[in-house]
Amino acid sequence: MRELWNVSSSPHVRAWDGTRNLMLDVALALMPAAAFGVYRFGLYALCILVTAVGFALLTEYTYEACVGKESTLWDGSALVTGLLLGMNLPPKTPLWIPMLGSIFAILIVKQLFGGIGQNVVNPAMAARCFLLISFAEQMNAYSEMDGISGATPLEMLKNGGAVDLPAMFTGFTTGSIGEISALALLAGGIYLLIKRVIDWVIPVVYLGSFSLFMLLFGGRGADLTYLAAQLCGGGLMIGAWFMATDYATSPVTEKGRFLYAVFLGMLTGIFRLWGASAGGVSYALVTANLLVPLIEKITIPKAFGWEGQKDG
């Protein structure tokens, strides 16, 4: 007796890479910057990263177990959220900060909105904003090293001070654990581009529109050193390559991605120039995230063959 054959709707083949591969690729791409942060700030920075990741996973697991949802612990998204949050924390912050941040990111921002793909704003960014507003002191616990004061290069720049550009590019400066080395972040971004996990539009247009904004309104004219310092400083690199490209909170339409990135560049510029703090990437991201549904709504492309025609 012949066994039954399987029946399903076409297509009968699938590409091999799934959600988990994509998430693990992002985590892998973050590794150089994370490793550099640990190298620069020491083992305590590693403790912060591990705590952030651990609590992100724990929150994900606990919530899904409590409400009886199928566990998404292994799809890698909580890992990426925890890692991103940890990398955006200052290296001297007390450990309850990453704990609280990860719980907030996963529980409030992600799971309560419906889990993976449903969150309106980037969980790591929203958690960082929440921590920045609530615990300003702990969130400014930057370390004093090599005789440099605790101020980050962006703060110095804002106050009219001079900065060491090569050090900012390579990362021998101060700032959040994962954001200091523009070089390592760039390497990770290029890895994601090559693996086609992200496309170039959002990071390139974001950095481009930000540069243009700073040239026009920065008050320094065509001062390229100032511009380069602004590009390498703060959370811009990690934001442009790893957070602005977050799938759930960036538009899926082609025009929408462009528009979103332009918005991001402008908002970051506004927050950096006229905002209360030196950095502005987190607030810009969260604000732009909220605009995504609207951006998508107005950028639905015409289907092939309908270009320049009325809808049928």
């Binding site: 399987n6 699938r14 959600t19 639905i300």
Partner: protein
């Protein structure tokens, strides 16, 4: 030539190496042959034989019934056993003529009589194509004689031979190009006689260099370069999709509501063009199909020239049977083919392959949540937003589905192929599209029905019949919201 390629598309595993070196071998059927009267787009053919009748190879057993319909031809000689309903590979159940094969293959009168192309009028060519029962052999099955009568022959400036064969695992068209390039080009010359201003283009994907070389050599040899040329296409799926192909070659864009002729194009599959040549020049109606029997579950994969109507089960035997118990058997390619439940279905005019998988590549795939990665958007050759359409399907929001151009989807499966969350996108689009077509059909009927009502009121005739008509249609409302959840 060449405007680059259309945007979108995917690169599934090609799988063509299994059979691309396997020459086409003739397979003669052992059992009964089944000729469904509905194996083309349009009205089913009308049976012109009855149980017990003697039939000859090449004889018309089903006559085209209506403007868009096609003849059904017996591919063997023998006796009509019965006419009954049979299931096709597509799951459609159609009235079918069952013929008992006497294995003598006696031709019907006039079959195989060569004709000189020079003396033929356009009318004679179209009649010959119609009589031969030729339909689009690429899979759509649109009657070719209808396609070849676009109204204004002078408005056609491209006759495109679609030899892309972008569907993985299929090598039938490829082998045909290697083995019978002269016949394909002869068929193209016949088509070009219909459209004086047109230029012939043979569109082949770049991963078939031997075929490109062969066709080019024959064009050179027969000095046809004035009227025919080869266009090399980028290798990607779905390169052979008609509207995308027209764009790739001519730069002209068509939406689903337009026909190729609106862009000045006639597009025919390789096998169709070959069939036109055979029908017009050699007087041979469409009796054979080249079928690729392939996959890791089949002992001797190969390309077979098979009589239309042959049972698929016989093809499995012809290719040496299964190597092991297969998990999935597909009629057609892996991207758009239909999974079979039983091998007992006939080869039809539009059959192309039988694909046997020992392990079903999608059985253990578990759908997750959409992560909005946008890969489906990039893959879609129609520039649609599959993830948004999918949401619309999930909420049974057919209006939104249509606003998102859902009806432009031709179900190529690219979005589903790339989806990292493993959602059954194409499946839900198929259902939604069917429901929308249904709704539209019903709306049309209601409109024409209302018109009928008005005119009958004006004439004040036969008021009883009028009530009967409205009675029938008033029962049609409301149904159709029972689309099954597709996940």
């Amino acid at each position: 030539m060449g405007y680059g390629s259309f945007r979108g598309g995917v690169h599934p595993f090609r799988g063509k190496d299994i059979t691309k070196e396997k020459a086409i071998s003739e397979y003669l059927p052992q059992g009964d042959l089944v000729y469904p009267l509905s194996q083309h787009i349009g009205a089913p053919a009308r049976a012109v034989v009855a149980a017990g009748d003697e039939v000859l190879a090449g004889q018309i057993i089903g006559e085209a019934d209506g403007l868009v319909s096609a003849n059904v031809i017996s591919s063997v000689s023998g006796r009509v056993r019965t006419i009954e309903r049979r299931m096709l590979a597509t799951g459609v159940i159609s009235d079918s003529v069952i013929v008992e094969n006497d294995r003598e293959y006696r031709p019907a009168p006039g079959i195989g009589k060569s004709r000189d192309p020079e003396g033929l009028t356009k009318e004679e060519i179209r009649t010959a194509v119609k009589n031969a029962g030729i339909v689009g052999l690429g899979g759509a099955g649109f009657p070719t004689h209808v396609k070849l009568a676009p109204g204004d022959d002078g408005a056609i400036d491209y006759v495109i031979v679609n030899a892309a064969e972008c569907e993985p695992y299929l090598t039938g068209d490829y082998r045909l190009m290697l083995e019978e390039p002269e016949e394909i080009l002869a068929g193209l010359q016949v088509l070009l006689r219909l459209f004086e201003k047109a230029k012939g283009v043979i569109a082949i994907e770049a991963d078939k260099p031997e075929a490109i070389k062969k066709i080019k050599a024959v064009i050179e040899e027969k000095s046809l370069s004035q009227s025919a040329e080869v266009c090399t296409l980028k290798t990607k799926y779905p390169q052979g999709a008609e509207r995308n192909l027209i764009f790739t070659i001519t730069g002209r864009r068509l939406n689903s509501q337009k026909l190729p002729k609106d862009a000045g194009c006639i597009v025919c599959n390789t096998a169709t063009v070959h069939g036109v040549g055979q029908a017009v020049l050699k007087g041979l109606p469409l009796m054979n199909r080249i079928i690729t029997v392939t996959g890791d579950g089949i002992a001797n994969p190969g390309n077979f020239r098979v009589k239309v109507g042959t049972n698929y089960g016989e093809l499995i035997e012809a290719a040496g049977g299964f190597t092991a118990q297969p998990e999935k058997v597909i009629a057609g390619g892996p991207m758009m083919g239909m999974a079979l439940t039983v091998p007992d279905v006939p080869v039809t005019k539009t059959s192309s392959a039988l694909l046997v998988f020992r392990k079903d590549p999608v059985a253990h795939v578990k759908p997750g949540s959409c992560i909005r990665c946008g890969r489906c958007v990039k893959a879609c050759p129609c520039r649609l937003l599959p993830l948004k359409m999918w949401q619309a399907c999930k909420h049974y929001n057919l209006d939104l589905f249509q606003r998102l151009y859902g009806m432009e989807c031709y179900e190529c499966g690219s979005c589903t192929f790339v989806c990292p969350a493993r959602l059954s996108l194409t499946q839900s689009f198929k259902q939604a599209r069917m429901m929308v077509s249904d709704q539209r059909k019903r709306a049309k009927t209601t409109v024409s029905d209302r018109k009928k009502q008005q005119s009958s009121r004006q004439r004040q005739k036969d008021s009883q019949a009028h009530t009967a008509v409205t009675g029938i249609f008033s029962g049609c409302g409301g149904a159709g919201r029972d689309m099954a959840e597709s996940e």
